[in-house]
Amino acid sequence: MFKKPMTLKQKNAWFGVLFTAPLIFGMLMLFILPLIQSFRYSLSSLDMVEGGFKVNYEGFANYTSLFTDNPDFPRTLVESLVNMVVNVPLIIIFSLFAAVLLNQKFRGRPFARAVFFLPVILASSAIANLDISSFVGGGPIGGSSDGSDGSGMLQSFELNKMMLESGLSPVIVEYITGAVDRIYEIISSSGVQILIFLAGLQSISPSLYEASKIEGATGYESFWKITFPMVTPLILTNMVYSITDTFSSNQINLLISETAFKVFDFGMSAAMSWVFFLCVSIVLAVSTGLISRKVFYYD
């Protein structure tokens, strides 16, 4: 019997399955099953018994008690979400700005780039938890500000007054001065985003700028008419990245971990994480929906 030889496409497909086999295996064992189990746990209470655990189905009891009995959860959830919604636009604007700066030609550019990517190396939750401000607050060197202690407030106080007097609305002024006060936090969490924008800026064809220059466009115009539209797809990427990046260091995740491993209330912890996941999904869906309307693809 002759077997019909496989076509190239079929052969490639088999190799594709082979190449992704570990991934499929891991996806099942370490992602999909745990996800289903986690949902099941969130609907029940877990009892530790000898050599394992017992799952008692309880319906939505965990969810209701989260919002009625739990003193910390609603507040922490709102705080984390507000933080996310406030920080993400700032991070994106700053990283786009920094990427445009770093993309220009000037002396010492390699050094500046090396410094700007340094936060990627240094930023981590373990280190963030032990931030230097805890030391500065207690010690006599408090006069030097890293943006998170008292003197940082003092600096933006002048700015605050100036902007209020120039007639800006207080909400905007608050937002901007808040951004100035948290400049270190914002810079240190935008390393990867700068990198993504920079790679995007490199990929814009120089002939576009050349043509616009011949037509007499100013730098300002060529930024808004060429650079900005070309990087809009990356704004989407960066937004998703920035939102997921906050997972590692926000308060709600700390609370979820503590509920699981300090209080040993696995069911409650799972319910918390599902509520949080739902909220994040809503934020993601709304923001991607809004942005992807404006996204421009150059194909």
Partner: protein, 316 residues
């Protein structure tokens, strides 16, 4: 021969005073901004270094600003003792380097399949990969812990040995298994980066290789990988650094075995130092000891890293 636009630029630069001033002003503003941002980034690092060399007397001396008056290495000695630095360091190196290499392999294979070797359901699988990025790790924390606590490989291990599954907590296996199956720390992101990069390599190159008689494996190792060096450098650095700094997964899977980030968290308890200011000073030294290997490594690789950024097609 330069392009006409280059000549226009030269002409404008030389003979147009308005343009010249505006360029100059922008250069000044740019320099100030960049120096300012660099200062903000470097300041805490320098402050940490300055504090780490101070002796106990200097912290209460307001006249000491940057250069410590009583220079000492005492802090380092205490911090190393309290955090069991050398064992923790070795563990961290083991975990970081092994997962980096393993997940590099699993992620490039998977990404190549997503970019070029389309099969039925590969798109759905890719959507799932993106989904893994979006789901907060805490959502699957408990089941993941239990998976490794009673590791049974879909019931295979109990079937073969009759035991109740293996306890993999406090071993390095959880990290190796999740790296090998491309489910480790931020692996979805790496797959995404590699997929975009492989998609950017022209199809013609591959077709030429096919005509010359190269199989899928050969095309992958001889053509795709050498072309993907910028992306590989970026991902290598990311995965090493993130695994090094990770405190979430290590504190989940390693209870007794300490790595740098977890030993740092326990250091405050181990110090038994009555003075809270001095404790935080020692903690600061501990942080410095944790990041020092990374910073030293970065000094050496940053050149390749920054160069590779220019050619990494993380773009769409």
């Amino acid at each position: 021969m330069k392009s006409p636009a280059a000549y226009t630029e030269l002409f404008v630069r030389r003979y147009n005073p308005v343009d010249r001033t505006s360029r100059f002003v922008w250069a000044v503003i740019r320099t100030v901004l960049i120096l300012g941002f660099c200062f903000v980034i470097l300041f805490p690092l320098f402050l940490r270094i300055s504090i780490a060399f101070r002796s106990k007397v200097d912290i209460y001396d307001p006249t000491v600003l940057w250069i410590p008056r009583h220079f000492t290495l005492e802090n380092f000695k205490l911090a190393i003792e309290a955090s069991h630095y050398f064992t923790a360091f070795l563990h961290t190196v083991y975990i970081s380097s092994s997962t980096t290499i393993i997940q590099m392999a699993s992620c490039t294979f998977a990404a190549y399949a997503f970019a070029r070797l389309k099969f039925k359901g590969s798109n759905i699988l890719f959507v799932l990969v993106i989904f893994t990025i979006v789901v907060p790790p805490q959502t699957i924390m408990i089941p993941l812990y239990l998976t490794y606590r009673y590791f049974d490989l879909f019931g295979l291990i109990p079937l073969l040995t009759g035991s109740k599954g293996l306890n993999l907590i406090d071993t390095f296996w959880p990290f190796i298994i999740s790296a090998g199956t491309a489910m480790g720390l931020k692996n979805g992101l790496y797959i995404y980066i590699f997929r975009q990069f492989f998609r950017g390599i022209p199809k013609e190159v591959e077709e030429a290789a096919l005509v010359d008689g190269a199989g899928v494996m050969r095309t992958f190792f001889r053509i795709m990988l050498p072309n993907a060096v910028p992306a590989i450098v970026t991902v290598l650095l990311f995965s090493f650094v993130w695994q090094w700094n990770d405190s979430y997964y290590v504190s989940l899977f390693l209870k007794q075995v300490k790595v740098l980030s977890t030993s740092l968290m326990d250091m405050g308890v181990g110090l038994k130092e009555p003075d809270p200011v001095y404790t935080s000073m020692l903690l600061n030294t501990g942080v410095l000891l944790t990041i020092a290997p990374l910073v030293i490594m970065y000094l050496f690789v940053q050149r390749y890293f920054v160069e590779s950024v220019e050619r990494t097609g993380i773009t769409g």
